[in-house]
């Protein structure tokens, strides 16, 4: 054993930094190629990815995509119908609302809020959840029991009800919405990582690492984490969709970002009053939510199939 270790060390030392970088790069590139080859097979997943990418680009470049302002009322163009209806024009392709604001513009700016909250909440939740999941699964015992009871308790609260109540007590605003959603969101990656760790812990590579004297932290983050990453990515992607739906529901209930900042949920809520006549004011932003979340879910399922064959039915 020692002899082999010495040989291995020799090999590592003789490899220059440049060579090492090149080797890692080459491996990464081939991994990505392999992933793309598998992902591409699922046409719906490619479409889903394209939708998500389109919304992200639109959100980032919003001021360059549309000439209008999302918040300033324009009383000369109130409740204009979309371009395909009688009286519509290309000036306002999706029509305008009761204050004459361009709906297309507000949808694009609304994407900023939705995507921001979706990615930020899931990002933080993944970091917290993965860490706790690793600890919970790896150490087991008391700490695991405590974390699991906390998760059971949080599961009992309907997500939207808990988030609404929390935004209620914390007060509105972007930061508080993120906090209110994080309150429960971390349990999803945590549960997935924990169950994966329980499996990984019994694998030979962990045993091998332990035999050569690796510490707990090294085993958790260097040996196990890379192996549970695939399912974490899949779950987190799918969770972005759910979080966006939550944010939309919060703002529909009037507990989202403060007006007049456009958010999809509050646009639907505001347009509700005109559902009998100007149906587009409320339905089109809702359609934007549907498309985004559908895109994310399609992407997530594609990722699952490409990254984690064992998760396939």
């Amino acid at each position: 054993m020692d002899k082999y270790l010495a040989r291995a060390e020799e090999f590592v030392i003789t490899e220059t930094l440049q060579q090492k970088l090149l080797r890692v790069l080459r491996r990464t590139v081939s991994n990505i190629q392999e992933f793309w080859r598998l992902y591409r097979k699922n046409h719906l997943a490619v479409i889903g990815g394209a939708i998500v990418l389109a919304f992200i680009l639109l959100a980032i470049f919003a001021p360059w995509v549309t000439p209008h302002d999302p918040v300033t009322p324009n009383f000369r163009a109130i409740r204009k119908p979309p371009v395909w209806m009688k009286g519509g024009s290309w000036t306002h392709p999706l029509g305008t609302d009761h204050l004459g604001r361009d709906i297309w513009t507000r949808i694009i700016y609304g994407a900023r809020v939705s995507l921001f909250i979706g990615f930020v909440v899931v990002g933080f939740a993944t970091v917290i959840g993965v860490t706790l999941g690793l600890i919970s699964g790896y150490y087991g015992g008391k700490i695991d029991a405590v974390i699991q009871r906390v998760i059971d308790t949080l599961l009992a609260f309907p997500y939207l009800i808990l988030a609404t109540a929390l935004v209620g007590v914390l007060g509105p605003g972007l930061r508080n919405i993120v906090l209110a959603l994080l309150y429960k969101e971390w349990i999803y990656p945590c549960r997935v990582v924990r169950s994966e760790v329980l499996v990984a812990k019994e694998q030979e590579y962990v045993e091998a690492a332990r035999t050569v004297g690796a510490g707990n932290r090294h085993i958790m983050f260097r040996e196990i984490l890379p192996n549970v990453l695939a399912s974490t990515v899949v779950v987190s992607t799918l969770r972005v969709g759910s979080v966006i739906l939550m944010e939309a529901s919060l703002s529909f209930l009037g507990l989202g970002v403060e007006p007049p900042t456009p958010a999809w949920g509050s646009m639907v809520a505001e347009g509700r009053r005109f559902i009998n006549t100007e149906w587009w004011v409320s339905t089109l932003p809702g359609l934007a939510i549907l498309l985004t979340v559908l895109g994310i879910n399609l992407m997530g399922e594609g990722l699952r199939d490409a990254l984690d064959p064992k998760l396939r039915e």
């Binding site: 009992a156 609260f157 609404t164 739906l245 529909f252 559902i275």
Partner: protein, 335 residues
């Protein structure tokens, strides 16, 4: 019997956790909760603030507050609404039947749609029907509920004038005398079929909206569970016995597939309960969900605490029932 007892014991830490979270809700407020609550009203004197603090027990140590909160809940003394100045209990009991009726209807709708669709999809695997069904289910879980509700109103109420898009019963139909508060049950008890039919029609769209994500989920679970079961030897053996295909699918395959379905559906009951708030708002449904939203907006913390707790307890109860059902369906773990 032991298993049931064990399962009940398991819920104790969860119940304690629920009480802690619900209790802490009021104390999460940045700043003084009393000032926030009273700030709504306009100018208040320092005296008023002290008075209210005493009423809510906020002047006592935190531990004491928690125990008196729990004791109150257990005694059935749920506090007083700060807005309505009536006992929270009365407020909630008044709203509860409407929500129960809607929720049960939604569960029924989601099972009626979800299970047959999932079975059909699994049996006709790889067919265009399966592909379409899977895609529709994915759209179902990707759809914001409020948007679905509005679209249904737009199509069926505004457009086609087929179904009513709000409230529990039209104002021109006399409601049956209140016995249970569930309009369907009450109208049967009173033999009032006009009211029964009216209630059904009013329930249709909200129940469909509330049940839609759940039926999509049920469909997906049923499909994958059925695909797993259909491969089993006992299904082939049933065919070899000469059992009709329909009976093979329902008696032999579905009965086994139901076992995991029950668990997954119960675990996701939270999304259905959460949807209450949205659906009740859209369809002007006078239920608990609306009460929660209104109370949050008016900082009526006692009402918020109790209603949020009721939702959590409902979830726990439903999962308990699901576990019992699981044992009932699966002879291998039967007691």
């Amino acid at each position: 019997m032991d298993k049931i007892l064990q399962r009940l014991l398991h819920t104790i830490p969860v119940l304690i956790g629920i009480s802690l979270i619900v209790f802490s809700l009021m104390h999460l407020t940045p700043g003084d909760p009393v000032e926030i609550m009273l700030g709504e009203v306009g100018y208040v004197s320092q005296e008023d603030i002290e008075l209210m603090r005493a009423e809510l027990g906020l002047d006592r140590p935190l531990i004491e507050q928690y125990f008196s909160f729990v004791a109150g809940i257990l005694r059935g003394d749920w506090g007083t609404s700060l807005r309505a100045r009536v006992p929270v209990k009365a407020l909630i009991l008044e709203r509860l039947p409407a929500t129960i009726e809607l929720t049960i209807a939604a569960i029924v709708v989601s099972l009626i749609i979800g299970i047959p669709a999932g079975v059909l999809s699994a049996v006709r695997r790889y067919s265009w029907l399966d592909k379409l069904g899977t895609l529709v289910a994915l759209v179902g879980i990707s759809m914001p509920q409020f948007w679905l509700g509005l679209t249904l109103i737009l199509v069926f109420s505004v457009g086609l004038h087929l179904l009513p898009g709000g409230v529990r019963l039209a104002f021109d139909i006399p409601a049956p005398p209140t016995v249970t508060g569930l309009l369907l049950v009450d109208s049967i008890l009173a033999g009032n079929w006009t009211a029964f039919w009216g209630t059904m029609r009013h329930l249709a769209l909200p129940a469909l909206t509330l049940g839609a994500p759940m039926s999509a989920l049920t469909m997906r679970v049923t499909r994958s569970s059925m695909l797993e079961v259909i491969r089993q030897d006992y299904v082939t053996f049933a065919r070899a016995k000469g059992v009709k295909e329909m009976a093979v699918v329902i008696k032999h395959a579905l009965r086994n597939a139901l076992i995991p379905i029950v668990t997954v559906v119960a675990l996701n009951m939270g999304s259905l309960l959460g949807g209450n708030m949205i659906v009740e708002r859209i369809f002007s449904w006078p239920g608990l969900g609306q009460l929660v939203v209104d109370s949050i907006r008016t900082y009526d913390y006692p009402v918020v605490q109790v209603s949020v707790m009721i939702y959590a307890l409902t979830y726990v109860a439903m999962n308990l029932i699901a576990d019992l059902l699981y044992m009932r369906l699966n002879p291998r773990v039967r007691i």
